[in-house]
């Protein structure tokens, strides 16, 4: 009986969703705000990458919230995981090739991630993506060289400072120019060059550090538990 009701409910939901999705004009350029972003994004924010102009320009407040969600997830995981009992078991040492290869790749991965978040306003990518690449580099080291740990103090500081830079830059906007939070108060520069788009590249660099250190602390916790 329970299963029967679940099935009925599921069918109703699925039919409703299909009907609703059918109403959405996919593949046509009809979204009002979409059109506006494509038409005015470059001029208003100075970022050549339209996605960036939305993520760190028009909807930067959401981005601030999302970084906070990630920050919370890392902390929440720590709050719950640290309370469970730890088991020590030996990890087999990685082979020489793996070990050397990972240590060779590590700086390259970091360099690549820096490229991604520094060029976030010009090419696909940005702070979140760059931060994820940073964390993948550290994960490589964790897997290949057991016993190595990140510097927790440095990690925490880069995490906090990254978030603070975002908020402080936003708050400066309250006092200059148009006086709104997260206003782009720096000169926009020439489109499609590295030094353009005002505060966007700075925010993205801060985000790269913040997201990278948050994911690092998650990896660190998980590796400790495993």
């Amino acid at each position: 009986m329970k299963k029967f009701f679940s099935l009925i409910l599921l069918i109703i939901i699925v039919v409703g969703m299909i009907y609703t999705i059918h109403q959405i004009p996919f593949g046509k350029n009809q979204s009002k705000i979409g059109k506006y972003f494509v038409a005015n994004g470059k001029d208003e924010t100075g970022a050549a990458n339209i996605v960036t102009s939305v993520v760190v320009g028009y909807r930067s407040f959401d981005t601030l919230g999302e970084v906070t969600v990630l920050f919370l997830a890392a902390i929440g995981l720590g709050a719950i995981l640290t309370t469970t009992k730890k088991q020590n078991h030996d990890i087999e040492k990685a082979s020489l090739i793996l070990n050397t290869g990972c240590r060779f790749l590590f700086p390259l991965v970091l360099l690549f991630s820096a490229y991604i978040f520094i060029h976030g306003h010009l090419s696909p990518g940005g702070g979140f993506q760059g931060g994820a690449v940073v964390a993948s580099g550290f994960l490589l080291i964790y897997l290949a060289c057991p016993g190595k740990r990140i510097n927790k103090v440095g990690n925490t500081i880069s995490e906090s400072v990254g978030g603070l830079i975002f908020i402080i830059l936003g708050a400066i906007g309250l006092f200059v120019g148009d006086r709104y939070f997260l206003a782009n108060f720096l000169p926009k520069g020439e489109l499609n060059t590295l030094f353009s788009a005002g505060i966007i590249p700075i925010i993205y660099i801060a985000l790269g550090f913040k997201v990278g250190s948050e994911l690092n602390s998650v990896i660190d916790k998980m590796m400790e538990e495993s």
């Binding site: 969703m17 009002k32 705000i33 909807r59 709050a79 906090s160 908020i167 709104y180 206003a183």
Partner: protein, 494 residues
């Protein structure tokens, strides 16, 4: 027109957020100061919110963020309703943070304070935002910190209820997100005022489905029957200071978001009849379950379900006086339940047990704590001259003003639940004062940092109970703001 200068309301969110980011650094530099950070942050929020009252009573403040063109960038809409809740949140945050100075002794305190700050910051974001996706983001901030805080003590029950809450809450958040996605797909905008301007009625299926998803998603956080099975476990296994904000703030914020979506975006008056019944059923089930509990925190948690049912009922009357009653009941529930949980926290600490039977004779051993607890129970039952009486009275008045048989029957049911409520709360009072304790240990009061916030809550309960008119103007304008879709639209879109 003369330009009035005021502090930008975005700082209500930005300042606590920045302080929460500073806490991890402070851990290395000056660890003792960490527990004062939430106190400072919410004191700031409380003061700023109160200074905004006269401005908001005249017109809504629209705060632009990240751009100046309205439907394209995010904006906050600080109206009377949002500001009223933001004052409640920062007041509860401030007082509970003072309580936590002494109360939180175990676990990783740094994490506790960060999570506590972000929980309430998320709540402030939800009540102030004017953008539906932004609402989702802050809602996630609120929910994720609650999941972590429920499991903060790290015991088996805590982790179990935390995971249970996590699973149900995540389903709720996903439903909300799917609903927002479906709406965005159809209208191509996320600004609530812009959406409201385009949606005339919620009668078509393509609007009903997203509305259903959003209401179900928010209903899980707001603990409306039948979506509330996580609540008793979660609220009872969290530390008491957290139970106070979860019961007093988090569920109400979920409910406010739901009402904002229903009234402002969908203008779904036809849906209200359904919610009316859900509210009364939630109330009845909550109070009946509370009656059969022997564990004090579970009893209070079930009582929260009952109270949220009453608030849903009040909002679903969908008249100005009904909404006023709902807002007043929210205020009174925040004050009552926070006071009850805070008092319970130290009573449990003292006796080492959550069983009501172990509280025998505490009225003599902890006279002040027991007195504050008694004030909280009297108020929540609705005895004059406490605030609970004023708010329940307002709801009854609003329902009877409808002059329909249905409302008279529902009011009868609500009065019945008040009797149940009285029965189980008086049982505790009896245990506290009229049963002799076995052990003859001496008097030992709660810590002074706990007594001060309890005293302020009790004082507010008494003052607002005797002089409800002091805040009635504010509550009425909050109610008319929530009810009047057109004035909201005009204030945002110009």
């Amino acid at each position: 027109m003369k330009e009035i200068t005021y502090i930008n309301p975005v700082l209500l969110i930005a300042v606590p957020l920045a302080l929460a980011f500073i806490i991890p650094i402070l851990k290395f530099v000056w660890e003792k100061s960490i527990k004062w950070i939430p106190v400072a942050g919410f004191l700031f929020d409380l003061i700023v919110s109160i200074t905004l009252i006269p401005i908001v009573l005249q017109k809504n403040i629209i705060v632009k963020i990240g751009g100046t063109t309205t439907p394209f960038s995010i904006n906050l809409v600080v109206g009377p309703a949002g500001l009223l809740l933001s004052i409640m949140i920062s007041l509860a945050g401030f007082l509970v943070a003072i309580y936590a100075l002494k109360y939180i002794q175990e676990g990783d305190k740094t994490k506790y304070h960060i999570l506590f700050m972000l929980l309430l910051t998320g709540a402030i974001g939800v009540v102030l935002t004017g953008d539906i996706f932004n609402l989702f983001v802050f809602f996630e901030v609120l929910c994720i910190s609650s999941y972590a805080l429920v499991g903060y003590l790290g015991n088996r029950a805590g982790i179990e209820s935390s995971i249970k809450y996590l699973i149900q809450g995540s389903i709720g958040s996903s439903l909300l997100l799917v609903g927002i996605g479906l709406i965005y797909g159809q209208y191509g905008t996320l600004n609530m005022a812009d959406l409201a301007a385009q949606i005339k009625t919620a009668d078509s299926i393509s609007l009903f489905v997203p509305m259903f998803f959003m209401i179900t998603g928010l209903g899980i956080e707001a603990a409306i029957f039948p979506l509330n099975s996580w609540l008793p476990d979660a609220h009872s296994s969290a530390p008491s200071s957290i139970s106070a904000v979860l019961s007093g703030i988090a569920i109400e914020v979920g409910l406010y978001a739901m009402m904002r979506i229903l009234f402002t975006i969908f203008a779904a008056e036809s849906f209200m009849g359904f919610l009316l019944f859900l509210g009364v059923i939630t109330l009845l089930i909550g109070e009946m379950s509370a009656f059969s509990q022997n564990n004090i925190k579970r009893m209070l948690a079930y009582s929260s379900i009952g109270q949220i049912g009453l608030i849903v009922f009040a909002f679903s009357i969908a008249t100005a006086s009904g909404l006023s009653g709902g807002f007043f009941q929210m205020i009174s529930h925040t004050l009552n339940k926070a006071l009850l949980f805070l008092a319970t926290g130290f009573m449990i600490y003292r006796t080492g047990s959550m069983e009501i039977s172990s509280f025998r004779g505490l009225g003599k051993k902890m006279p002040l704590t027991a007195l504050f607890f008694t004030i909280g129970t009297f108020s929540i039952i609705g005895l004059p001259p406490f605030v609970g009486f004023a708010s329940k009275f307002l709801i009854f008045k609003a329902a009877l003003a409808k002059q329909e048989l249905l409302f008279i029957i529902l009011i009868a049911v609500i009065i019945l639940t008040t009797v149940i409520e009285g029965a189980y709360f008086f049982r505790i009072i009896q245990t506290l004062y009229f049963k002799e304790s076995d052990d003859k240990s001496s008097k030992q009061e709660s810590a002074i940092t706990a007594l001060i916030p309890m005293f302020i809550f009790a004082l507010l309960i008494l003052i607002l109970g005797i002089y409800p008119n002091w805040i009635m103007k504010f509550i009425h304008s909050a109610a008319s703001e929530l009810l009047n879709k057109m004035s909201y639209l005009r204030s945002v879109l110009g």
